[in-house]
Symmetry: C2
DNA sequence: ACCTGAACACCGTTCAAGT
DNA sequence: ACCTGAACACCGTTCAAGT
Protein backbone atom coordinates (compact mmCIF):
# COMPACT_ATOMS: atom_id res chain seq x y z
CA UNK A 1 0.00 0.00 0.00
CA UNK A 2 1.68 3.19 -1.18
CA UNK A 3 0.48 6.70 -0.66
CA UNK A 4 0.63 8.81 -3.75
CA UNK A 5 4.12 10.25 -3.85
CA UNK A 6 3.35 13.18 -6.12
CA UNK A 7 2.16 15.17 -3.16
CA UNK A 8 4.50 17.94 -2.14
CA UNK A 9 4.55 19.16 1.48
CA UNK A 10 2.96 22.44 0.46
CA UNK A 11 -0.20 20.50 -0.31
CA UNK A 12 -2.10 21.52 2.78
CA UNK A 13 -0.64 24.95 3.14
CA UNK A 14 -3.19 26.11 0.61
CA UNK A 15 -4.82 29.06 2.25
CA UNK A 16 -6.51 31.08 -0.51
CA UNK A 17 -9.25 33.25 0.90
CA UNK A 18 -11.27 33.17 -2.29
CA UNK A 19 -11.43 30.04 -4.39
CA UNK A 20 -11.25 30.94 -8.05
CA UNK A 21 -7.75 32.34 -8.26
CA UNK A 22 -6.00 30.40 -11.00
CA UNK A 23 -6.70 31.02 -14.64
CA UNK A 24 -3.40 29.68 -15.98
CA UNK A 25 -3.52 26.44 -17.92
CA UNK A 26 -0.95 24.44 -16.00
CA UNK A 27 -1.30 20.72 -16.58
CA UNK A 28 -4.27 19.31 -14.68
CA UNK A 29 -2.63 16.91 -12.23
CA UNK A 30 -4.02 14.82 -9.42
CA UNK A 31 -2.04 16.89 -6.94
CA UNK A 32 -3.52 20.15 -8.23
CA UNK A 33 -7.02 18.69 -8.05
CA UNK A 34 -6.50 17.54 -4.46
CA UNK A 35 -5.08 20.93 -3.49
CA UNK A 36 -8.08 22.69 -5.01
CA UNK A 37 -10.44 20.29 -3.26
CA UNK A 38 -8.82 21.06 0.09
CA UNK A 39 -9.20 24.78 -0.56
CA UNK A 40 -12.88 24.37 -1.45
CA UNK A 41 -13.48 22.16 1.61
CA UNK A 42 -11.76 24.68 3.89
CA UNK A 43 -13.89 27.46 2.47
CA UNK A 44 -17.29 25.81 2.12
CA UNK A 45 -17.36 22.54 4.10
CA UNK A 46 -18.13 19.17 2.59
CA UNK A 47 -21.46 20.31 1.15
CA UNK A 48 -19.61 22.91 -0.93
CA UNK A 49 -17.40 20.40 -2.70
CA UNK A 50 -19.22 19.76 -5.97
CA UNK A 51 -17.64 18.78 -9.24
CA UNK A 52 -19.03 21.92 -10.78
CA UNK A 53 -17.51 24.22 -8.15
CA UNK A 54 -14.24 22.32 -8.24
CA UNK A 55 -13.96 22.36 -12.02
CA UNK A 56 -14.68 26.07 -12.02
CA UNK A 57 -11.88 26.67 -9.52
CA UNK A 58 -9.61 24.68 -11.84
CA UNK A 59 -10.91 26.51 -14.93
CA UNK A 60 -12.04 23.34 -16.68
CA UNK A 61 -15.12 21.14 -17.09
CA UNK A 62 -16.47 18.61 -14.58
CA UNK A 63 -15.55 15.67 -16.78
CA UNK A 64 -11.86 16.50 -16.79
CA UNK A 65 -11.50 15.63 -13.12
CA UNK A 66 -12.54 12.04 -13.77
CA UNK A 67 -9.36 11.48 -15.74
CA UNK A 68 -7.41 11.76 -12.49
CA UNK A 69 -9.73 10.55 -9.71
CA UNK A 70 -12.34 7.82 -9.91
CA UNK A 71 -15.10 9.79 -8.17
CA UNK A 72 -16.05 11.94 -5.21
CA UNK A 73 -15.25 9.29 -2.63
CA UNK A 74 -11.68 8.90 -3.77
CA UNK A 75 -11.32 12.65 -3.95
CA UNK A 76 -12.37 13.03 -0.31
CA UNK A 77 -10.06 10.20 0.71
CA UNK A 78 -7.15 11.80 -1.14
CA UNK A 79 -7.78 15.19 0.46
CA UNK A 80 -7.94 13.58 3.92
CA UNK A 81 -4.81 11.59 3.17
CA UNK A 82 -2.91 14.74 2.21
CA UNK A 83 -3.83 16.58 5.41
CA UNK A 84 -3.06 13.58 7.66
CA UNK A 85 0.25 12.87 5.93
CA UNK A 86 1.43 16.38 6.70
CA UNK A 87 0.21 16.14 10.30
CA UNK A 88 1.97 12.83 10.97
CA UNK A 89 5.27 14.11 9.61
CA UNK A 90 7.09 14.55 12.92
CA UNK A 91 10.43 16.36 13.35
CA UNK A 92 11.53 12.90 14.43
CA UNK A 93 14.54 13.02 16.73
CA UNK A 94 13.89 9.90 18.85
CA UNK A 95 11.98 11.56 21.71
CA UNK A 96 10.45 9.57 24.55
CA UNK A 97 7.40 7.59 23.40
CA UNK A 98 5.10 9.44 25.73
CA UNK A 99 6.26 12.77 24.27
CA UNK A 100 5.86 11.38 20.77
CA UNK A 101 2.27 10.37 21.51
CA UNK A 102 1.65 13.91 22.71
CA UNK A 103 3.23 15.33 19.58
CA UNK A 104 1.19 13.09 17.29
CA UNK A 105 -2.01 13.85 19.14
CA UNK A 106 -1.42 17.60 19.05
CA UNK A 107 -0.42 17.45 15.40
CA UNK A 108 -3.76 15.86 14.56
CA UNK A 109 -5.54 18.27 16.87
CA UNK A 110 -4.12 21.23 14.96
CA UNK A 111 -4.66 19.67 11.54
CA UNK A 112 -8.35 19.07 12.31
CA UNK A 113 -8.55 22.56 13.75
CA UNK A 114 -7.32 23.96 10.42
CA UNK A 115 -9.44 21.60 8.30
CA UNK A 116 -12.55 20.74 10.33
CA UNK A 117 -14.08 18.58 7.56
CA UNK A 118 -11.26 16.08 8.17
CA UNK A 119 -12.88 14.98 11.43
CA UNK A 120 -16.09 13.71 9.86
CA UNK A 121 -14.07 12.24 7.03
CA UNK A 122 -11.86 10.19 9.33
CA UNK A 123 -14.88 9.09 11.36
CA UNK A 124 -16.62 7.92 8.21
CA UNK A 125 -13.45 6.19 7.06
CA UNK A 126 -13.21 4.46 10.41
CA UNK A 127 -16.85 3.41 10.34
CA UNK A 128 -16.64 2.14 6.78
CA UNK A 129 -14.53 -0.81 7.88
CA UNK A 130 -11.79 -1.71 10.33
CA UNK A 131 -9.39 0.95 9.15
CA UNK A 132 -8.45 2.37 5.81
CA UNK A 133 -6.01 4.79 4.32
CA UNK A 134 -5.44 7.75 6.56
CA UNK A 135 -6.96 6.29 9.74
CA UNK A 136 -4.89 3.14 9.30
CA UNK A 137 -1.72 5.21 9.26
CA UNK A 138 -2.73 7.11 12.39
CA UNK A 139 -3.39 3.80 14.13
CA UNK A 140 0.05 2.56 13.11
CA UNK A 141 1.79 5.76 14.23
CA UNK A 142 0.18 5.65 17.67
CA UNK A 143 0.56 1.89 18.05
CA UNK A 144 4.26 1.98 17.38
CA UNK A 145 4.70 4.18 20.47
CA UNK A 146 2.29 2.17 22.58
CA UNK A 147 4.44 -0.89 21.90
CA UNK A 148 7.33 0.74 23.74
CA UNK A 149 5.32 1.87 26.76
CA UNK A 150 5.40 -1.38 28.72
CA UNK A 151 1.86 -2.43 27.84
CA UNK A 152 1.32 -6.21 27.80
CA UNK A 153 1.25 -7.40 24.22
CA UNK A 154 -2.35 -8.64 24.45
CA UNK A 155 -3.52 -5.10 25.26
CA UNK A 156 -1.73 -3.34 22.42
CA UNK A 157 -4.65 -3.30 20.04
CA UNK A 158 -7.39 -2.22 22.42
CA UNK A 159 -5.10 0.33 24.03
CA UNK A 160 -4.15 1.95 20.75
CA UNK A 161 -7.68 2.09 19.36
CA UNK A 162 -8.90 3.69 22.60
CA UNK A 163 -6.22 6.33 22.14
CA UNK A 164 -7.18 6.77 18.48
CA UNK A 165 -10.86 7.24 19.25
CA UNK A 166 -10.14 9.78 21.94
CA UNK A 167 -7.80 11.81 19.76
CA UNK A 168 -10.12 11.91 16.77
CA UNK A 169 -13.25 12.47 18.82
CA UNK A 170 -11.83 15.23 20.99
CA UNK A 171 -10.03 16.98 18.13
CA UNK A 172 -13.15 16.86 15.99
CA UNK A 173 -15.33 18.21 18.72
CA UNK A 174 -12.90 21.03 19.35
CA UNK A 175 -12.87 21.97 15.69
CA UNK A 176 -16.66 21.84 15.46
CA UNK A 177 -17.06 24.07 18.49
CA UNK A 178 -14.59 26.54 17.05
CA UNK A 179 -16.36 26.45 13.70
CA UNK A 180 -19.79 27.20 15.05
CA UNK A 181 -18.43 30.39 16.57
CA UNK A 182 -19.10 32.36 13.40
CA UNK A 183 -16.46 34.93 14.28
CA UNK A 184 -17.12 35.25 17.99
CA UNK A 185 -14.10 34.68 20.18
CA UNK A 186 -13.63 31.35 21.86
CA UNK A 187 -14.67 32.54 25.30
CA UNK A 188 -18.05 33.67 24.00
CA UNK A 189 -18.69 30.29 22.40
CA UNK A 190 -17.79 28.41 25.55
CA UNK A 191 -19.95 30.71 27.62
CA UNK A 192 -22.92 30.19 25.32
CA UNK A 193 -22.55 26.40 25.45
CA UNK A 194 -22.06 26.47 29.21
CA UNK A 195 -25.21 28.56 29.56
CA UNK A 196 -27.13 26.03 27.50
CA UNK A 197 -25.97 23.16 29.70
CA UNK A 198 -26.78 25.06 32.89
CA UNK A 199 -30.30 25.69 31.71
CA UNK A 200 -31.02 21.97 31.28
CA UNK A 201 -33.41 20.46 33.84
CA UNK A 202 -31.42 19.39 36.90
CA UNK A 203 -33.28 16.11 37.41
CA UNK A 204 -32.55 14.94 33.86
CA UNK A 205 -29.03 16.27 33.41
CA UNK A 206 -27.14 16.37 36.71
CA UNK A 207 -23.85 15.54 35.01
CA UNK A 208 -23.92 18.11 32.25
CA UNK A 209 -24.92 20.77 34.76
CA UNK A 210 -22.07 19.74 37.04
CA UNK A 211 -19.42 20.06 34.32
CA UNK A 212 -20.86 23.15 32.62
CA UNK A 213 -18.93 25.49 34.87
CA UNK A 214 -15.61 23.78 34.23
CA UNK A 215 -16.23 23.99 30.51
CA UNK A 216 -16.80 27.72 30.67
CA UNK A 217 -13.14 28.47 31.36
CA UNK A 218 -10.54 25.99 30.21
CA UNK A 219 -7.81 25.84 27.61
CA UNK A 220 -8.69 23.62 24.66
CA UNK A 221 -5.25 22.19 23.98
CA UNK A 222 -4.52 21.77 27.65
CA UNK A 223 -7.74 19.83 28.19
CA UNK A 224 -7.05 17.73 25.14
CA UNK A 225 -3.60 16.75 26.38
CA UNK A 226 -5.06 15.94 29.79
CA UNK A 227 -7.36 13.45 28.07
CA UNK A 228 -4.45 11.82 26.25
CA UNK A 229 -2.71 11.49 29.60
CA UNK A 230 -5.82 9.90 31.06
CA UNK A 231 -5.78 7.12 28.48
CA UNK A 232 -2.02 6.78 28.95
CA UNK A 233 -2.66 6.46 32.70
CA UNK A 234 -5.01 3.60 31.96
CA UNK A 235 -2.30 2.08 29.81
CA UNK A 236 0.26 2.43 32.58
CA UNK A 237 -2.16 1.02 35.15
CA UNK A 238 -3.12 -2.02 33.10
CA UNK A 239 0.51 -2.79 32.26
CA UNK A 240 1.45 -1.99 35.81
CA UNK A 241 4.14 -4.57 36.46
CA UNK A 242 6.55 -3.18 33.86
CA UNK A 243 5.44 0.44 34.25
CA UNK A 244 7.72 2.55 32.08
CA UNK A 245 10.40 0.26 30.73
CA UNK A 246 10.60 -0.91 27.13
CA UNK A 247 8.81 -4.20 26.74
CA UNK A 248 9.47 -6.49 23.83
CA UNK B 1 -34.81 20.33 25.72
CA UNK B 2 -37.44 17.60 25.51
CA UNK B 3 -37.23 14.48 23.41
CA UNK B 4 -40.36 13.84 21.44
CA UNK B 5 -42.66 11.92 23.74
CA UNK B 6 -44.83 10.39 21.03
CA UNK B 7 -42.28 7.65 20.54
CA UNK B 8 -43.37 4.32 21.90
CA UNK B 9 -40.74 1.77 23.02
CA UNK B 10 -41.62 -0.48 20.09
CA UNK B 11 -40.11 2.12 17.78
CA UNK B 12 -36.91 0.28 17.11
CA UNK B 13 -38.27 -3.22 17.25
CA UNK B 14 -39.18 -2.80 13.59
CA UNK B 15 -37.71 -5.81 11.93
CA UNK B 16 -39.47 -6.21 8.57
CA UNK B 17 -37.40 -8.15 6.11
CA UNK B 18 -38.83 -6.39 3.10
CA UNK B 19 -39.72 -2.72 3.23
CA UNK B 20 -43.00 -2.15 1.42
CA UNK B 21 -45.37 -4.09 3.66
CA UNK B 22 -48.11 -1.67 4.64
CA UNK B 23 -50.87 -0.64 2.29
CA UNK B 24 -53.42 0.36 4.93
CA UNK B 25 -54.20 4.04 5.31
CA UNK B 26 -53.49 4.50 8.99
CA UNK B 27 -52.92 8.12 9.92
CA UNK B 28 -49.48 9.29 8.80
CA UNK B 29 -47.79 10.11 12.10
CA UNK B 30 -44.28 11.21 12.92
CA UNK B 31 -43.75 7.93 14.80
CA UNK B 32 -44.77 5.85 11.77
CA UNK B 33 -42.46 7.87 9.53
CA UNK B 34 -39.52 7.39 11.91
CA UNK B 35 -40.24 3.65 12.16
CA UNK B 36 -40.32 3.35 8.38
CA UNK B 37 -37.10 5.35 8.10
CA UNK B 38 -35.37 2.98 10.53
CA UNK B 39 -36.55 0.00 8.49
CA UNK B 40 -35.26 1.54 5.26
CA UNK B 41 -31.93 2.44 6.89
CA UNK B 42 -31.54 -1.08 8.29
CA UNK B 43 -32.22 -2.54 4.85
CA UNK B 44 -30.35 -0.15 2.56
CA UNK B 45 -27.96 2.00 4.62
CA UNK B 46 -28.02 5.78 4.64
CA UNK B 47 -27.73 6.06 0.87
CA UNK B 48 -30.98 4.11 0.51
CA UNK B 49 -33.03 6.56 2.55
CA UNK B 50 -34.61 8.83 -0.05
CA UNK B 51 -37.90 10.64 0.28
CA UNK B 52 -39.15 8.75 -2.75
CA UNK B 53 -38.31 5.32 -1.29
CA UNK B 54 -39.66 6.31 2.11
CA UNK B 55 -42.92 7.71 0.74
CA UNK B 56 -43.39 4.54 -1.30
CA UNK B 57 -42.95 2.40 1.83
CA UNK B 58 -45.59 4.58 3.50
CA UNK B 59 -47.84 4.45 0.45
CA UNK B 60 -47.95 8.20 0.00
CA UNK B 61 -46.19 11.02 -1.85
CA UNK B 62 -42.84 12.61 -0.96
CA UNK B 63 -44.45 15.88 0.03
CA UNK B 64 -46.62 14.32 2.73
CA UNK B 65 -43.59 13.59 4.90
CA UNK B 66 -42.75 17.28 5.16
CA UNK B 67 -45.92 17.83 7.18
CA UNK B 68 -44.31 15.87 10.03
CA UNK B 69 -40.57 16.39 9.77
CA UNK B 70 -38.73 19.47 8.59
CA UNK B 71 -36.30 17.66 6.29
CA UNK B 72 -33.86 14.81 5.90
CA UNK B 73 -31.55 15.99 8.68
CA UNK B 74 -34.28 15.99 11.28
CA UNK B 75 -35.47 12.61 10.04
CA UNK B 76 -32.02 11.09 10.56
CA UNK B 77 -31.75 12.70 13.98
CA UNK B 78 -35.16 11.35 14.99
CA UNK B 79 -34.28 7.84 13.81
CA UNK B 80 -31.00 7.95 15.75
CA UNK B 81 -32.80 9.32 18.78
CA UNK B 82 -35.30 6.46 18.73
CA UNK B 83 -32.60 3.79 18.59
CA UNK B 84 -30.48 5.40 21.31
CA UNK B 85 -33.47 5.97 23.59
CA UNK B 86 -34.26 2.27 23.52
CA UNK B 87 -30.60 1.34 24.10
CA UNK B 88 -30.21 3.63 27.12
CA UNK B 89 -33.35 2.28 28.76
CA UNK B 90 -31.68 0.18 31.47
CA UNK B 91 -33.53 -2.35 33.69
CA UNK B 92 -32.43 0.09 36.38
CA UNK B 93 -32.14 -1.59 39.77
CA UNK B 94 -29.33 0.46 41.37
CA UNK B 95 -26.37 -1.71 40.31
CA UNK B 96 -22.78 -0.69 41.02
CA UNK B 97 -21.68 2.22 38.79
CA UNK B 98 -18.99 0.15 37.15
CA UNK B 99 -21.56 -2.49 36.19
CA UNK B 100 -23.90 0.21 34.94
CA UNK B 101 -21.17 1.61 32.70
CA UNK B 102 -20.67 -1.86 31.31
CA UNK B 103 -24.40 -2.26 30.75
CA UNK B 104 -24.68 1.10 28.99
CA UNK B 105 -21.66 0.42 26.84
CA UNK B 106 -22.91 -3.02 25.82
CA UNK B 107 -26.39 -1.68 25.17
CA UNK B 108 -24.97 0.82 22.71
CA UNK B 109 -22.69 -1.83 21.26
CA UNK B 110 -25.67 -4.05 20.48
CA UNK B 111 -27.86 -1.20 19.23
CA UNK B 112 -25.16 -0.13 16.76
CA UNK B 113 -24.65 -3.76 15.82
CA UNK B 114 -28.35 -3.98 14.90
CA UNK B 115 -28.45 -0.58 13.21
CA UNK B 116 -24.95 0.10 11.83
CA UNK B 117 -25.93 3.44 10.26
CA UNK B 118 -26.35 4.81 13.81
CA UNK B 119 -22.57 4.87 14.26
CA UNK B 120 -21.89 7.33 11.46
CA UNK B 121 -24.93 9.31 12.50
CA UNK B 122 -23.73 9.74 16.08
CA UNK B 123 -20.24 10.60 14.87
CA UNK B 124 -21.65 13.27 12.58
CA UNK B 125 -23.85 14.56 15.38
CA UNK B 126 -20.84 14.75 17.66
CA UNK B 127 -18.76 16.52 15.02
CA UNK B 128 -21.51 18.99 14.20
CA UNK B 129 -21.03 20.73 17.53
CA UNK B 130 -20.25 19.97 21.17
CA UNK B 131 -23.05 17.49 21.63
CA UNK B 132 -26.63 17.32 20.49
CA UNK B 133 -29.69 15.22 20.94
CA UNK B 134 -28.82 11.57 21.16
CA UNK B 135 -25.10 11.95 21.81
CA UNK B 136 -25.82 14.47 24.57
CA UNK B 137 -27.98 11.92 26.35
CA UNK B 138 -25.30 9.24 26.09
CA UNK B 139 -22.79 11.67 27.56
CA UNK B 140 -25.15 12.39 30.44
CA UNK B 141 -25.85 8.69 31.09
CA UNK B 142 -22.16 7.81 31.23
CA UNK B 143 -21.19 10.93 33.16
CA UNK B 144 -23.71 10.28 35.89
CA UNK B 145 -21.91 7.01 36.69
CA UNK B 146 -18.45 8.52 36.37
CA UNK B 147 -19.45 11.03 39.05
CA UNK B 148 -19.83 8.21 41.54
CA UNK B 149 -16.55 6.48 40.73
CA UNK B 150 -14.27 8.60 42.87
CA UNK B 151 -12.88 10.68 40.01
CA UNK B 152 -11.77 14.17 41.01
CA UNK B 153 -14.39 16.64 39.92
CA UNK B 154 -12.04 18.50 37.57
CA UNK B 155 -11.56 15.29 35.56
CA UNK B 156 -15.22 14.42 35.15
CA UNK B 157 -15.66 15.97 31.75
CA UNK B 158 -12.50 14.69 30.06
CA UNK B 159 -12.97 11.27 31.61
CA UNK B 160 -16.52 10.89 30.40
CA UNK B 161 -15.85 12.12 26.87
CA UNK B 162 -12.92 9.71 26.59
CA UNK B 163 -15.29 6.92 27.56
CA UNK B 164 -17.90 8.17 25.09
CA UNK B 165 -15.44 8.30 22.21
CA UNK B 166 -14.18 4.81 22.92
CA UNK B 167 -17.66 3.32 23.15
CA UNK B 168 -18.94 4.93 19.95
CA UNK B 169 -15.74 4.33 18.02
CA UNK B 170 -15.32 0.70 19.00
CA UNK B 171 -19.01 -0.16 18.62
CA UNK B 172 -19.12 1.49 15.21
CA UNK B 173 -16.03 -0.28 14.04
CA UNK B 174 -17.41 -3.61 15.18
CA UNK B 175 -20.66 -3.01 13.32
CA UNK B 176 -18.84 -1.95 10.17
CA UNK B 177 -16.64 -5.03 10.22
CA UNK B 178 -19.68 -7.24 10.68
CA UNK B 179 -21.49 -5.44 7.87
CA UNK B 180 -18.75 -5.89 5.33
CA UNK B 181 -18.93 -9.63 5.82
CA UNK B 182 -21.65 -9.97 3.18
CA UNK B 183 -22.87 -13.20 4.73
CA UNK B 184 -19.54 -14.82 5.59
CA UNK B 185 -19.21 -15.85 9.19
CA UNK B 186 -17.31 -13.65 11.58
CA UNK B 187 -14.19 -15.81 11.69
CA UNK B 188 -13.75 -15.55 7.93
CA UNK B 189 -13.98 -11.77 8.06
CA UNK B 190 -11.44 -11.52 10.84
CA UNK B 191 -9.12 -13.88 9.02
CA UNK B 192 -9.35 -11.84 5.84
CA UNK B 193 -8.59 -8.60 7.67
CA UNK B 194 -5.75 -10.24 9.61
CA UNK B 195 -4.29 -11.53 6.36
CA UNK B 196 -4.41 -8.03 4.92
CA UNK B 197 -2.55 -6.59 7.89
CA UNK B 198 0.04 -9.34 7.82
CA UNK B 199 0.79 -8.64 4.19
CA UNK B 200 1.66 -5.00 4.88
CA UNK B 201 5.35 -4.10 4.57
CA UNK B 202 7.07 -4.79 7.90
CA UNK B 203 9.19 -1.65 7.87
CA UNK B 204 6.17 0.61 7.44
CA UNK B 205 3.65 -1.19 9.65
CA UNK B 206 5.36 -3.00 12.54
CA UNK B 207 2.44 -2.35 14.85
CA UNK B 208 -0.39 -3.55 12.64
CA UNK B 209 1.59 -6.69 11.82
CA UNK B 210 2.21 -7.29 15.51
CA UNK B 211 -1.47 -7.11 16.44
CA UNK B 212 -2.83 -8.88 13.35
CA UNK B 213 -2.54 -12.30 14.95
CA UNK B 214 -4.41 -11.26 18.07
CA UNK B 215 -7.18 -9.83 15.93
CA UNK B 216 -7.61 -13.09 14.07
CA UNK B 217 -9.12 -14.86 17.07
CA UNK B 218 -10.87 -12.78 19.68
CA UNK B 219 -14.41 -12.29 20.91
CA UNK B 220 -15.86 -8.94 19.83
CA UNK B 221 -17.90 -8.17 22.92
CA UNK B 222 -15.17 -9.41 25.22
CA UNK B 223 -12.58 -7.18 23.56
CA UNK B 224 -14.98 -4.26 23.68
CA UNK B 225 -15.56 -4.66 27.41
CA UNK B 226 -11.80 -4.93 27.96
CA UNK B 227 -11.45 -1.52 26.32
CA UNK B 228 -14.09 -0.02 28.59
CA UNK B 229 -12.17 -1.43 31.55
CA UNK B 230 -8.99 0.12 30.21
CA UNK B 231 -10.50 3.59 30.28
CA UNK B 232 -11.99 2.85 33.69
CA UNK B 233 -8.51 1.84 34.85
CA UNK B 234 -7.25 5.24 33.72
CA UNK B 235 -10.06 6.82 35.67
CA UNK B 236 -9.20 4.85 38.78
CA UNK B 237 -5.50 5.65 38.40
CA UNK B 238 -6.01 9.38 37.93
CA UNK B 239 -8.40 9.58 40.87
CA UNK B 240 -6.14 7.31 42.84
CA UNK B 241 -6.44 8.80 46.30
CA UNK B 242 -10.15 8.07 46.66
CA UNK B 243 -10.10 4.92 44.56
CA UNK B 244 -13.55 3.33 44.67
CA UNK B 245 -15.61 5.26 47.20
CA UNK B 246 -18.39 7.66 46.31
CA UNK B 247 -17.03 11.17 45.99
CA UNK B 248 -19.31 14.13 46.27
C1' DA C 1 -55.69 20.36 8.09
C1' DC C 2 -53.66 17.10 5.56
C1' DC C 3 -52.27 14.93 1.45
C1' DT C 4 -50.80 14.59 -3.55
C1' DG C 5 -47.43 14.44 -7.13
C1' DA C 6 -45.64 17.29 -10.77
C1' DA C 7 -42.07 20.66 -11.00
C1' DC C 8 -37.73 23.09 -9.62
C1' DA C 9 -33.02 23.52 -8.80
C1' DC C 10 -29.68 20.99 -7.94
C1' DC C 11 -26.24 16.76 -7.77
C1' DG C 12 -22.52 12.90 -9.42
C1' DT C 13 -21.33 10.74 -13.43
C1' DT C 14 -21.04 9.59 -18.39
C1' DC C 15 -19.76 10.09 -23.10
C1' DA C 16 -19.74 11.73 -27.86
C1' DA C 17 -17.16 15.12 -29.83
C1' DG C 18 -13.29 17.77 -30.10
C1' DT C 19 -7.81 18.88 -29.69
C1' DA D 1 -4.07 11.05 -24.35
C1' DC D 2 -6.44 14.51 -22.50
C1' DC D 3 -10.08 17.71 -22.21
C1' DT D 4 -14.88 19.63 -22.97
C1' DG D 5 -19.55 20.41 -21.61
C1' DA D 6 -24.13 18.91 -22.79
C1' DA D 7 -26.96 15.18 -21.29
C1' DC D 8 -28.63 11.46 -18.10
C1' DA D 9 -30.53 9.70 -14.06
C1' DC D 10 -30.99 10.85 -9.96
C1' DC D 11 -31.70 13.79 -5.42
C1' DG D 12 -34.13 17.03 -1.54
C1' DT D 13 -37.57 20.25 -1.39
C1' DT D 14 -41.55 23.17 -2.76
C1' DC D 15 -46.19 24.27 -3.87
C1' DA D 16 -50.46 24.68 -6.50
C1' DA D 17 -54.20 21.84 -6.54
C1' DG D 18 -57.09 18.70 -4.50
C1' DT D 19 -59.81 16.34 -0.27
Amino acid sequence: MTFHPSLEPRSNSVKMTAVATRKRTDALTRARIVDAAIAVLDADEEAGLTFRALSQALATGPGAIYHHVSGKGELLDAATEAVVTAALDLPGGGAAPREEVHALALGLFDAIDDHPWVAAQLAAQLARTSAHGASLRILEALGRRVMTLGVPREHWFTTTTALLYYVLGAAGQNAAARESSGGDDRAAVLAREADAWESLPAEDFPFLRAVAAQMRDHDDREQFTAGVDLVLAGIAASGARVSGGSAR
